[in-house]
Symmetry: C2
Subunit: 455 residues, 2 copies
């Protein structure tokens, strides 16, 4: 006889996907003040859904920024473990809009994929947990374990206020372990257990020269060009072998062991050239692209601008130029220290004739690693195999999820990173999407995992 929970999920698939699409249609872009109302709307969606499916003590917990949605179901009985489920309802900006084939906030299904900003990161994946809880509660009338949810609205901007909230409400959020679905598989159809994440820090700096843009004929030869000065500063930060040149950047880094290099080599490699269109990969001298993305720190320029950007020519020496930088860190690197090393470097390499001003990114995050042999991690791998009919690989990912480091430091609990995204999801880019067969198979994985955790 078919599992009642699975049957419920099959029968209510369309309905649940419709709810997900409603969730996806809200432009909850946390980084941009213009969308503040929409971010709030998304928080309310989550709150209402939790109310509908039978959670309790649901509340929008205010922060100085966007609220965190809390809810619990604690009726699993004596000795049952408590899981903290984390997700986020905010999304990345959608620009450049003109590169989207469909409206980023009008969810569209095409060739088995659901297209919308946030479909993969993270609304689709967060919603899967809620769908599974709904199925258990509507059929068995209970969940297999105690559940607390923490669904926030600032992940894309560094989860600036979450640490403080978790600290303040430590007892409310306390659990035996946490689970997060906000990551991806290394390849389509390749279940992937994330056992490590990179840390994160960043800043924005502006080089300024003359008070106003200047006529380049009249002033060229007397004035340090701020764009040139910015280019110079940036060029000193990494050498041509992708080795970061910022003093002390690598000082305390946990080295990449031979054992880990083998684990990395076992992971099916993405063919970057064909998948993303680059002529060839580049990586830090002495490391392969996979080793660098997974186990070595990075420094990237995310945006850079100054002067005339319109059509044609404008013969000016621009007044100023700005660059936005972020670093992904590995165990051993302290994000606050790294940020300060970046600042020192920028100040020391600013040429004469211009001034520099620096804006730090708010709260950053240390890197995270868990033992791949932990029972919960091993159960996650087993459940993955049930859902996807394939053995899981274990990887450390180049991305960062700030909350992971904080859960680790506040609660010291295992964190199961069970993601269902794929390399083709185009996170942070135009035409983000999530494959519906991963939605379906992931839900099966979660049903098995939540059931099996007790044993």
């Amino acid at each position: 006889m078919k599992d009642a929970v699975i049957k419920y999920l099959e029968e209510h698939r369309d309905q649940q996907l419709e709810s997900l699409c409603t969730f996806l249609s809200i432009p909850s872009i946390s980084t941009d003040q213009k969308y503040q109302q929409n971010v709030s709307e998304a928080a309310h969606f989550v709150k209402q859904y939790l109310e509908q499916i039978g959670f309790e003590q649901i509340e929008l917990q205010d922060t100085v920024g966007h609220p965190v949605v809390y809810g619990e179901w604690l009726g699993a009985g004596e000795g049952a473990p408590t899981v903290l489920v984390y997700g986020h309802y905010d999304v990345q900006p959608a620009d450049p809009l003109e590169l989207w084939d469909s409206d980023p906030f009008k969810p569209t299904v095409k060739a088995g994929r659901l297209y919308a900003r946030g479909a993969s990161d993270d609304k689709g994946q967060t919603f899967m947990h809620l769908a599974v809880f709904e199925a258990f509660l509507k059929t068995e009338g209970k969940l297999p374990l105690n559940v607390k949810v923490c669904i926030e609205g600032e992940e894309e901007i560094g989860s600036e206020h979450l640490y403080e909230l978790l600290e303040q409400k430590k007892e409310q959020y306390r659990a035996d372990f946490a689970i997060i679905s906000d990551s991806g598989m290394v390849a389509n159809d390749q279940p992937t257990i994330l056992y490590g994440l990179k840390g994160f820090t960043g800043l924005e700096f502006t080089v300024s020269g003359p008070d106003n843009d200047l006529h380049s004929g009249l002033y060229g030869g007397a004035v340090k060009n701020p764009l040139m000065a910015l280019a110079h500063i940036l060029s000193t930060m990494k050498d041509e072998n992708e080795v970061v040149q910022v003093k002390h950047f690598y000082d305390q880094i946990e080295p990449l062991s031979d054992e880990e290099r083998q684990l990395i080599a076992d992971v099916p490699a993405e063919n970057y050239v064909s998948s993303i269109g680059i002529p060839e990969t580049v990586s830090e001298l002495g490391y392969t692209a996979a080793e660098h993305t997974m186990g070595r720190p990075t420094l990237e320029v995310n945006g850079m601008f100054g002067g005339y950007q319109g059509e044609g020519t404008k013969t000016i020496i621009p007044s100023y130029a700005t660059a936005k930088l972020t670093c992904r860190l590995v165990p051993g690197q302290n994000p606050v220290d790294i940020q300060n090393y970046l600042i020192d470097h920028i100040n020391q390499h600013t040429p004469k004739g211009v001034r520099v001003s620096i804006k730090k990114e708010p709260l950053s995050a240390k890197a995270y690693k868990v033992d791949p042999n932990h029972p919960l991690i091993k159960q996650a791998a087993k459940s993955y195999q049930i859902g996807f009919n394939k053995e899981a690989v274990f990887v450390r990912m180049g991305g960062s999820i700030p909350v992971v480091e904080w859960l680790d430091s506040i609660f010291n609990i295992p964190i199961v990173l069970l993601g269902f995204g794929t390399p083709d999801d185009r996170l942070h880019s135009p035409n983000e999407s999530f494959p519906l067969n991963n939605y379906d198979r992931g839900i099966l994985t979660l049903v098995d995992f939540y059931r099996s955790v007790l044993s």
Copy 2:
């Protein structure tokens, strides 16, 4: 008894300024297709004004781009010289609009200055010649010499089609000398004869990597960042001593003689630090700021952009980055060769992992120099003294006016560069303006010059 011409100008000052303001209110931005209609409107303004004041054979001469306005008055009699008066009715873009205190196309007078895009460059100065011709024709019924006007609409974008037109209509435009008011004085109230101009060439290049923006956590460490690559290429083009590092850039340059260095030293120096707000000047090793701006070539980045430019953070490796470059050249440098040297340099310094594509700027210009002792040049200095009650200085300017080189090469005639702009005019910047007392004194200068040329 007061000069009738001067009297006419005084009595019709308001009326003529009103006409100038009508001219200025037309957003004739040549570089941007959006304003094509307005550019045409400005051409028609000039045509109509010439008709009103009594010129003949007036026509809008079509080019592939914007038309050139031609008109003549050839009734000065046997042995009278013919002057070709050049000006332009197109203007620079006005952005960034939010930095203007008044609408760039709603001319406003404040503290003795007329504020509008084009007030100084070049509508105000071009109009002054028309105002003077009007005065002569309405009072004496004739002009003191034969006059042909050539007022074009593409100066701000390199006068791309003018050379061809002048070549094709060589006989129509033939004259004994030319006069151009499209430059400025080295200081307020300091009459300045320009005896040299710099040449010009440029290009735009784009560095591209992945087909789309990428998640910097997932792909950082495998991909060459196009912004970083662009910064690197730019940083190789000039060293920290402002010496251009592009091979062959300086090969054929006419060196700056001691005599010229003395002429330059005699020119009252602008206090760049106080006038434009830079912390200090920088110039090519071995040259002062004044020597570099006047007599040495320059390479400037006019615009640079790629990746996320909005509020806050976006953790991407951008798909591409673009920079716009222009060079000001001195005698001895061939603009087409220089452009090719730039292209070679960019190609040779493009790192692996990215591709580069280059877009050349259309027609460029060689530098120009005339003998400061030519009788016409000396007369211009005298007339300046009449108008401004101060002796003129002789300078070579950092700016370029493409037509100067072409008039030189097609007709081999002296070109009198008699400008009335000032360093505070803010050419090519927000809040461009032109001082009304220079409008008035410049008109007196032109009346004297046109009268005296016959003698």
